[in-house]
Amino acid sequence: MKKIISGNEAIALGFGDAGGVFASGYPGTPSTEVLEEVARLGEVYCEWAANEKVALEAAIGASIAGGRALATMKHVGVNVAADPLLTLSYTGVNAGLVLMVADDPGMHSSQNEQDSRNYAKFAKVPMLDPSDSQEAYAMTRVGLELSEEFDTPVMLRTTTRISHAKGVVVPATKIAPEIRTWEKNVPKYVMLPNFAKLKHVEVEARLLKLQAYAETSPLNRLEMRDPAIGIITSGVAYQHVREAWPDASILKLGLVHPLPVEKIRDFAAKVKKLVIVEEMDGIFEEQIRALGLVVDTGKDKLPRCGEINADILRAALDGSRARSTPPVEDLPQRPPVFCPSCAHRGLFTILSKLKTFVSGDIGCYTLGALPPMGAMHSVIDMGASISAAHGMAKVNALAGRSEKPVAVIGDSTFFHSGMTGLLSMAFNGGGALVIIMDNRTTGMTGGQENPGSGSTLQGTATHQVEMVPLIKALGIDQVYELNTYDLAATEAAIKKGLATPGPYVLIDRNPCILRYKIRKPAMNVAQDKCTGCRACLKVACMALGLNAAGENEKQKVRVDPNVCNGCGVCMQMCKFDAMHTLEGENHANL
């Protein structure tokens, strides 16, 4: 039956329908919904791993034990999982293993714009690049089959516009292959140098076999139309090409590594002008130019940064201008912001006031870097808050500076790779203040379970990690609780942490109000008491606004009861007792 589903949902469905038995991943936009959908479908065992490396390694184990396996992550997650990936290429698999990776061209929700196709070349493994939900569905099964046939992991790569775009899918017949036997095979799975040397030779031979397969595979589709222009493309770029030039001839690549060299030569000979359309890096183009073929248009005219679309393609090739009137300029931006009553708001209100250097991390709290807080001064990757703060503290000591850096990290990020940084800090006698915002969920990606949540992806109750004993076990003695809804206490606790030598950890344990649906009565502003001083606006809450002012009067603050969730942080900023809790039902539209 026809369904309209996202690329991510299609991959989940495709995995279940292809007899998948084990799926693991770490949440990351735009990949997160794959595992959520596997869990919702309820037919395949699935779990959130502590990080992407663990997810891939667990999938490797599942494959060795004979079950078809899937690992999911966002592009930067593959950096974390790169260690197992590059050696998994050598060992190969038992049952099929697909590594699904979601790239984010345009960085809608990412810290960089890396093109995962580079990893397929680097790891010498095949990569599939679907161009819509139907292909995402089908290629998940093809990926498992290729994995078994060629004894290799297969990467299934999407981009945001594939993962999150919904399209029509007609599912195939469901199959359920038996779980394979579990064998001991030392030369295959133990990558000691002597075995790995033999394996590397096999990997190179496998690439040649895959290249031969690529020449005839229906994954690489020739669409001959007008031979005046011939375009080589893949993924969502194919859809933009179809939109921009419906009459152009196209060689559409579904298997994007290794490339079908002879097919490309034939195509180039059939068309007058060869054009290569790739989002982000010019990976095909580099390889095609290296074949000695003449490329008329490629990255000389098409952008390497950001997403492409039909207008960009037309402008680059035809010089045609977009049909629209220009957008209205100078409108105030609407950046994302902490939810009304989020526990992060109180923390960043104080950090902003103290003007201390904050080494930040990946999560909702990264929004603390934006105005008016501006209280986060470096954000690199998952877990870097703590390890970078450690390095800063060491150099500050060498430079004779007394300022102690503050690291801010969430619970999921701490479990992912913050723990190792803290262990290292304790080991080497560092001196940073670490604040863990433990809201018992992976908030930014929509509230996924983590080792602190007390339940698994499939909803099973499980052990809930306790932060304080964990941190003490890592070797940190000074660990204290924090309540960021109490501004005065928060300021005092942070000041004490900054003044105390050695590593110092503060933990806020207020749960995510969005994930745990916490409702509090809204606030109200007594207009006769409000002086219009705007001190409360420093907390940057959407629920606050200014009323229209009369003649010679300051604008006074008002609270939108549809948005306010009554945390009272703004109330603590008020020196004139103008803010109070509104009695009655909470209307907050969270």
Partner: protein, 190 residues
């Protein structure tokens, strides 16, 4: 059928995604090819959200290009102004007149522009502004703004209203169904 392009704009948390889903499921139910796409992630709460729904005999790109939308539905006036350039000449614009302050405005760092509605109408005199929040509350829940907005454009979609009503019934379960159907009808009458 030629491609029919819809852009839905709003603020994170307003239910833009469910409205998009109603439209795309309706298109599928009447046998059209359809692609729907929105950007989310960091836009979860309070950020600007834009969603595309494209339907026709065969839809390729999931993205609506500026200047090509047949219909722009905006859940907030400033967002209507922000995405006005997506409309094609002769396209249709319906927007909710109730403003939501961007965080920058709430923090006193920026000003909500003056006379947003007048600016919209100056550029697009046929635009229809409605108080969707009032209609949603009349239907029984202020959160039903999204269904009110779908209701306002029901007459102008390439499929009939019965189909949309059936899809809303299918997608929203329990007590919500009644409110959503009332909201849909309230929007249609506006």
């Amino acid at each position: 059928m030629q491609i029919f392009n819809i852009v839905i704009a709003g603020v994170g948390g307003q239910g833009v995604l469910l409205a998009s889903k109603v439209l795309s499921e309706s298109a599928l139910a009447c046998g059209l090819d359809v692609k729907q796409n929105e950007v989310h992630g960091m836009a979860q709460r309070g950020g600007s959200v834009i969603s595309f729904v494209r339907m026709g005999d065969q839809v390729h790109s999931p993205v609506v290009m500026p200047g090509s939308a047949d219909l722009l539905i905006s859940f907030e006036p400033l967002e209507a102004l922000r995405y006005l350039h997506y409309l094609k000449p002769g396209g249709r614009l319906v927007y909710n007149t109730i403003p939501i302050n961007p965080s920058t405005v709430a923090a006193g760092l920026a000003k909500y522009p003056d006379e947003v509605e007048a600016q919209i109408l100056a550029r697009f005199p046929q635009a229809l502004g409605i108080d969707a929040l009032a209609l949603a509350r009349q239907a029984g829940n202020g959160k039903a703004v999204n269904m009110v907005m779908v209701g306002t454009v029901m007459k102008h979609l390439p499929f009939n209203e019965t189909l949309i009503t059936a899809v809303v019934k299918k997608l929203t379960q329990g007590k919500g169904v009644e409110v959503n159907l009332k909201a849909l009808a309230g929007g249609a009458a506006a």
